[in-house]
């Protein structure tokens, strides 16, 4: 193995296929991650509320759901959704992207629900007591007092989840969705080069997540500044 050749090949490959990596691949990866986190956050919030509900069966359903999702491999879930969803819902037939997106959403929702639940529970119980003692209903207490404070706790963790999901979307390449990792496989197939496309895609993933995690850091510091005033 010659490192100089690999270096040259990487540059050549990138010049030839840069649009596959930086346009198509990045587009699919980022769109999948964005859909996953946004829709996942909505479902995650729902599951979190169910887990804290006074209705016991709702609590059980939510708990069982999160435990199963967190206790099984993501790749397995992707396979299951990929093959089972079209059988259950015929319009999803041949809609690989949708099936994978749904699988990712279902997975992320479980993790996000735990983030949201811990964010809500981290708000001092005294806040609830003060609000309720003023006559605020449970709902008003949630929307006016608890959630605004919880969101502040949650946002950085949610942003980190987004970074995790970006990496998780690479599993979608199992089904040739078109994401960065799929492009890697496609270029490999076209050029018979293995290492080079992996390095290129690895660098893109790293730059992406590195920038995002730095942004999250800045965001966290900004928010803490709000506490000191």
């Amino acid at each position: 193995m010659n490192f100089a050749t690999i270096g040259q090949n990487i540059i050549k490959l990138f010049i030839k296929y840069w649009d596959k990596f930086l346009i198509t691949g990045l587009e699919y990866t980022l769109s999948l991650a964005a859909i996953t986190v946004c829709v996942g956050a909505v479902f995650g919030a729902l599951i979190a509320l169910m887990r804290m509900s006074r209705v016991a069966p709702l609590r059980w359903i939510a708990a069982v759901y999160t435990e199963i999702i967190r206790g099984t491999p993501m790749l397995l879930q992707l396979y299951l959704f990929y093959f089972a969803l079209p059988m259950l819902i015929p319009i999803l037939n041949k809609q690989q992207y949708a099936c994978v997106a749904i699988a990712l959403v279902c997975n992320s929702a479980a993790y996000v629900s735990e983030i949201i639940r811990s964010g809500i529970q981290a708000v001092d119980i005294g806040q609830t007591e003060a609000a309720r003692s003023l006559g605020l209903s449970q709902r008003l207490t949630m929307t006016e007092i608890i959630l605004p404070q919880a969101i502040k706790n949650i946002l950085p963790a949610l942003a980190n989840e987004f970074i995790m999901v970006i990496k998780d979307t690479s599993l979608a390449s199992t089904f040739f969705i078109g994401d960065l990792m799929t492009q890697c496989l496609l270029v490999k197939g076209a050029t018979y080069l293995t290492i080079e496309p992996l390095v290129i895609v690895g660098i893109i993933y790293f730059v992406l997540t590195f920038i995002l995690s730095k942004l999250v850091g800045v965001m966290e510091r900004r928010m803490r500044r709000g506490d000191i005033r």
Binding site: E129, A130, R132, Q149
Partner: protein, 255 residues
């Protein structure tokens, strides 16, 4: 005494935790009359905070009844047969906590107008005017746009008191309002409470401030082991204590 003078009637109130292993309240019966300034004293773990927090159902009692303005608020249904709306009764019971519990994401003014506007439906301008009046009364009008984090402990507690007053409650419950304060800030909070008592507000105060109990209270209640062991005027409780455990307690605290 007429029935109408009785604001809160507590009957055989019990609160058990962990089955029956911990009896935080073990049969409390007492009447709180309009205009009373009732000071509840007792050692730590005597159940005095649990008693106070039961009065507006922050603690749900195991058994017994709390009749507030003629309605037993421990029941699931009100006298009209409809589901009892505890929020409605809590509006008339202001509560002040040891740790202030101001809402950190809202300004002082927003802390005070939230409940009047959202719960009572008061127009914002009216609520703000009322809040400013109250803040002026406790000397904090210039801090209306500050956030709680910018205030000292004593200032926070004064805001917490007027926040509760903004709902125009019929009774004010104080749960160790000066226990979390630096010593030099205790006075300013007690001053506000003294003024409130003088204005005729019905107050139930759980405190370790014996001086305040003696000076401002018209009734002093001594609790231990979840029971009321002695009750009377400050003079009788502090100067002629009958119960042995009260005598023991008073010998250990500065009066």
């Amino acid at each position: 005494m007429e029935i109408s003078d009785k604001l809160i009637q507590v009957r055989d109130l019990k609160k058990y935790y962990n089955g029956e292993n911990i009896k935080a309240l073990n049969g409390i019966s007492i009447d709180i009359n309009k205009g009373d300034v009732m000071v509840v004293i007792g050692p730590s773990g005597s159940g005095k905070s649990t008693f106070l927090r039961s009065l507006n159902l922050l603690e749900i009692p195991t058994s017994g009844s709390i009749i507030f303005e003629g309605v037993d608020i421990t029941q699931k249904r009100g006298p009209d047969g409809k589901k009892l709306d505890i929020d409605l009764h809590r509006q008339k019971m202001g509560m002040v906590f040891q740790h202030f519990n101001l809402f950190p994401h809202k300004t002082i003014l927003q802390n005070m107008t939230l409940a009047p506007v959202k719960v009572k439906g008061m127009p914002l301008a009216d609520a703000e005017k009322k809040a400013m009046d109250l803040l002026t009364r406790v000397g904090l009008a210039d801090r209306a746009d500050a956030f709680p984090i910018q205030l000292s402990g004593g200032q926070k507690q004064r805001v917490a008191i007027v926040r509760a007053l903004a709902m125009e409650p019929d009774v004010m419950l104080f749960d160790e309002p000066t226990s979390a304060l630096d010593p030099e800030m205790v006075g300013e909070v007690l001053d506000v409470m003294r003024g409130l008592a003088r204005s005729g507000m019905t107050m139930v105060v759980v405190t370790h401030e014996m001086g305040f109990a003696r000076e401002v209270g018209n009734r002093v209640v001594f609790m231990d082991d979840g029971k009321i062991l002695e009750e009377g005027t400050p003079d009788s409780v502090f100067n002629h204590p009958q119960n042995e455990r009260l005598q023991d307690f008073l010998s250990k605290v500065l009066v």
